[in-house]
């Protein structure tokens, strides 16, 4: 186990800089998720930590050792790739024991460690199979096993679950979490799925365009997004955004001059803002912003309502059930402490945020 420190790490391919100075302190035993839209540099950063990419600028430390010029094999890290990269000519046992054999560990010990790991992951009966004789989910497990058996200083994961179907993904997600609670190995986990990041990590690092946009505990990011980008990226269903002028700290005046009462902001003057409100922070009552219901989607435990508010589509999430029907007018109230104010800017579109994978 080990700390990982990244100090102003930069990466250029030719003349194009894709990481513009990323700094990150990862504690011993911490589980850190790197999230962000496709192409933001998550994999690049992870591969720099692994030693698979040169570091153009800055330093990366594992423990208290600068590893910039240390070969991957000498960094004592283990990595699980998105496509698993199992050795196709070796069976599961050999795949899992390969790294240990490279380190010239005694045969008996290798055998024991492989068997233990196989047991943890439920792979005991597959040890003699070749990768091509395994299902996608089993391959994923072997890839995990190959990393775990080494008991490395740091685990690196690059979207390890993105090739699994939805159900298996959720199952493996909790298994990974359980494994981390048991092994307590420092883990850096790359994903573009914010739910995965939120549920797994002690700390989430949101990246965008080669820089760290914000980092913090999952709930901290959820409650206090520092930018419109993070606000739009974290949370599902996503936050609602309304752009307009905040007048005298009492009204939000939208582009079409509709004035919505909103008791936040400076008491005097007029400023251009984007207001963000999470779907579950609306309350439906007798007074508030009038909106016309267009869709009601009950899931049993909660109900998602889509409504039109002065021409804008808003999503509302309420606990339990409702008798509200499409076409009805509802009134949306919102407590001031739940209102997020951002400088006016175009809202990042979800299509840009969520990978189409």
């Amino acid at each position: 186990m080990s700390t990982v420190q990244i100090r102003d790490a930069r990466k250029s391919y030719g003349s194009v800089e894709v990481l513009h100075g990323v700094s990150l302190d990862i504690e011993d035993g911490e589980f850190v998720a790197l999230v962000g839209p496709s192409g933001c540099g998550k994999s690049t950063l992870l591969r720099m930590i692994a030693g698979l990419e040169d570091i153009t600028g800055g330093d990366i430390l594992i423990g208290d050792r600068v590893v910039n010029h240390i070969a991957p094999k000498d960094r004592d890290i283990a990595m699980v790739f998105q496509n698993y990269a199992l050795y196709p000519h070796k069976n599961v046992r050999e795949n899992m024991g390969f790294a240990l054999r490279q380190r010239r560990i005694r045969k008996a010990e290798i055998e024991e460690r492989v068997n233990n790991t196989a047991q943890i992951l439920g792979l005991e009966n597959l040890l003699d199979r070749k990768p091509r004789q395994l299902s996608g989910g089993q391959r994923q497990r072997v890839a995990m096993g190959r990393a775990i058996v080494r008991d490395p200083n740091v685990f690196l994961f690059d979207e390890p679950l993105s090739n699994l179907d939805a159900k298996l993904r959720v199952q493996m997600r909790s298994e990974i979490k359980e494994l981390h609670q048991r092994l307590k190995t420092t883990t850096i986990y790359v994903t573009h799925d914010q739910i995965e990041a939120m549920t797994l990590a002690d700390r989430v690092v949101v990246m965008n365009g080669g820089v760290v946009e914000q980092e913090g505990s999952p709930l901290d990011l959820y409650d206090n997004p520092a930018s419109l980008f993070v606000a739009a990226f974290i949370g599902s269903p996503p936050m609602n955004f309304l752009e307009g002028d905040l007048v005298d700290g009492t009204n939000l005046v939208l582009a079409d001059s509709t004035a919505l009462p909103l008791p936040v902001g400076d008491p005097k003057g007029r400023s251009r803002v984007t207001v963000g409100i999470r779907p579950e922070h609306f309350t439906i009552g007798d007074s508030g912003w009038p909106a016309t219901v267009s869709v009601v989607e009950p899931t049993g435990s909660e109900t998602q309502i889509t409504a039109r508010l002065a021409g804008h589509i808003v999503r509302i999430l309420i606990r339990g059930r409702t008798a509200t029907k499409p076409g009805e007018t509802i009134h949306l109230a919102i407590a001031p402490e739940y209102v997020h104010l951002f400088d006016a800017a175009p809202v990042p579109q979800l299509a840009d945020l969520e990978d189409v994978a």
Partner: protein, 286 residues
């Protein structure tokens, strides 16, 4: 054969196209195999049976020509020479070419692509234009009429050939395989020899076989660079075919031709089980 099940039009169409494909395959096979069949057949004919019209398919076979030629010391020596030269140049080229191909496929070197292309383009020079300069160089180095002369000469075209074939083979393997091995404790060379080479064996073997066949049948350089000691079988065939004194001896030509082909066929059959592709299957998500 029963009629195709009338159940669906789709089924009928596939079985028709299947049959067309089989027939096409047979036609192509006949086109390629008939000359070889004819060569082997002719080699067992007596001189009188060779030129009959219409050609004879039934005749009393004779081993006369084989016995005559196999007893000639130069033919056996040439056979041995050809084996040495083909194996030598094939092995040299596979080692050098595969490593060069790997470098081109994987290592980020400035100008690697241009460099690779230049090597390929060098093959655009007609061999005949190289033969005489090569002879002069070989003579300066005191290397005429030696096995190593031909091995080196053949490597000049086999290495680029291997390099390009293996480059695309390596490109088809996921990069993460080596990366995984390197994280698991291998150096770049370790990853190449412990993971990539074992997976690539089928590709390496087919490439080796093709290279050896190219070397086996090469005539021009063998003609120019060797004389008595290191000369190969194709030179003998050319000699028989171009015999201006006795005229072409077709019996001898086909018999020596058959002797030349047989080792190749035997070799190909021996390694055939290694030629299955798809060994890399299962490495990735699937």
């Amino acid at each position: 054969m029963s009629a195709p099940a009338p159940s669906t039009a789709h089924r009928t169409r596939t079985s028709t196209s299947h049959r067309l494909r089989v027939m096409g395959g047979i036609a192509v096979s006949i086109l390629f195999l008939f000359p070889i069949y004819w060569m082997v057949l002719t080699s067992f004919k007596q001189q009188v049976d060779i030129f009959t019209t219409p050609p004879k398919f039934l005749f009393i076979p004779t081993l006369e020509t084989y016995i005559e030629y196999m007893q000639r010391a130069d033919i056996t020596r040439r056979l041995v020479n050809t084996i040495i030269v083909a194996a030598g140049s094939g092995l040299l080229s596979i080692v050098v070419g595969a490593m060069a191909g790997y470098a081109l496929a994987r290592i980020r070197i400035r100008g690697a692509a241009t460099f690779g292309l230049l090597i390929l383009l060098s093959r655009g020079v007609p061999p005949i234009a190289l033969a005489v300069p090569m002879f002069l160089v070989a003579r300066k180095l005191g290397l005429t009429d030696k096995h190593i002369t031909l091995i080196l000469a053949y490597s000049t075209f086999l290495i680029p050939y291997v390099m390009w074939l293996m480059r695309s083979f390596f490109l088809s393997l996921p990069r993460e395989l080596e990366e995984s091995a390197m994280i698991d404790g291998c150096s770049r060379y370790g990853a190449l020899f412990k993971i990539i080479i074992p997976i690539s064996l089928p590709g390496l073997l087919s490439t080796l076989i093709f290279s050896m066949i190219l070397a086996w049948e090469e005539l021009l350089f063998a003609l120019v660079l060797t004389n008595r000691h290191a000369s190969t079988i194709p030179v003998a065939i050319a000699g028989i075919a171009g015999d201006t004194v006795n005229g072409a001896n077709w019996g001898a030509l086909t018999a020596v031709g058959t002797i030349t082909v047989v080792p190749v066929v035997v070799f190909a059959l021996l390694v055939q089980k290694w030629l299955i592709t798809g060994l890399a299957e299962g490495a990735t998500k699937g």
